[in-house]
Symmetry: C2
Subunit: 136 residues, 2 copies
Amino acid sequence: MSDLLLRPVGTVSSPVARPEDAVRQGDEGAPDCWIVLDAAVVDAAAQIAAGDRMIVLTWLHAADRSVLQVHPRDDPGRPLCGVFSTRAQHRPNPIGLHTVEVLGLDGARLHVRGLEAIDGTPVLDLKPVLGPVEGR
Amino acid sequence: MSDLLLRPVGTVSSPVARPEDAVRQGDEGAPDCWIVLDAAVVDAAAQIAAGDRMIVLTWLHAADRSVLQVHPRDDPGRPLCGVFSTRAQHRPNPIGLHTVEVLGLDGARLHVRGLEAIDGTPVLDLKPVLGPVEGR
């Protein structure tokens, strides 16, 4: 199968700079952050408004793509589990799936709540939430 | 921003061969189909079992990536809308997001319900559903 080329449409701007800090947030949720859209795709965001709930796809650039199985929650006491049955960042295509709330907009910048991703994470796509929202 | 390389982990095997036939399914849902995993990633699917509800990410290879705005539901009477506020396949990174039910497994093949994608669609990732399921 041939490779496919992603072109990021934006970048996460967050106070969380390191993966180990992101993990520490745990169930308390991520701090509010910004999605800075590429100028070339701003027209695709024309109808986004404060209060919208959206799905954000990111590229988890710190992930190890060779990993096929992990110990859930990084607990070596738990048996290895195929990554397709986990939300581990390490996986063949490390695409992050996040449900966020749009807090506001400022030109090509979207202020969002609920995006657990470190500063500089590439953003791949945004989609509207269509039904009852997934847990994370 | 530099480009990122996706490596498909599998392919959709479906009786639906053409995009126009997929569209016709409308709200009636897609026919059951198969996800044929690449032999190299089968270990990542080790814990998947019949009855699981999963999120499948696909690459909508028939999409036009230059499209930033569309008429919702292809209705020219409706005003143009930025693609990030729609589930249109046409978008800068045409990643499809599907919630499916696993009906059964046969080696590297997963039989699934609810995957609206034409035959040959590349599969990028599978993830467990963690909370109440999204509409589609």
